[in-house]
Subunit: 116 residues, 2 copies
């Protein structure tokens, strides 16, 4: 068993204005998927991209949009987002506070410049 | 893509005092793992049990303990819990408000009387 507070994990700067904390990974013995917690500053967007793996996301706080192609969908506290493999997407913080969310991916992913 | 508010998912009563909402499942096209949101009433515990699959958990609100064998570990808002496959465990709400958490499991699990 591992029990931690997510803020005790040292963050990495995924992009300018985007922090990532890898809170459960294969290093913990997780056999199938890993949990990350992201924090996006107000006004900041992740890169629009796609990849071969899915995202399973739960929004902890803040507000924004998830953009898939030309579709913009509002997200906020308690939103759940499923992005299928190969679905083009980005996350944008449209609010005045950090947009914080959990994002899970399978362990077996190819390396990529940006993991959100 | 699927975007919902988790409270819009109809809950099932997993145990007396324990609600489960299955927010991302294989029915959504999730290929590897599924997301559930649990709510445990004050004073209530899940069954102590083990199974062949892992749990990846993020505590949204409330306070309690995760018990593995004789070890009791406090959990609260922003705690992250990894339970390895076959690790005996239960969750107890020791607070005065609902204990709410996200719990992810791989899709390929055997049927069980209680999934938390």
């Amino acid at each position: 068993m591992k029990v931690i507070k997510y803020l005790d994990v040292k963050p990495t700067k995924e992009l300018p204005g985007v922090l990532k904390r890898e809170v459960i990974t294969a290093k913990d013995g997780a056999p199938n998927f890993c949990m990350r917690v992201f924090q996006i500053d107000p006004g900041v967007s992740t890169h629009s991209h796609s990849h071969e793996w899915e995202h399973e996301v739960f929004i902890l706080s803040g507000s924004g949009e998830v953009v898939t192609g030309k579709k913009k969908t509002p997200i906020g506290k308690d939103s759940v987002v499923f992005l299928a493999p190969n679905e083009h997407h980005c996350f944008i913080n449209k609010g005045k506070t950090p947009l914080r969310f959990i994002c899970l991916i399978p362990n077996a992913t190819k390396s990529t410049a940006c993991s959100i």
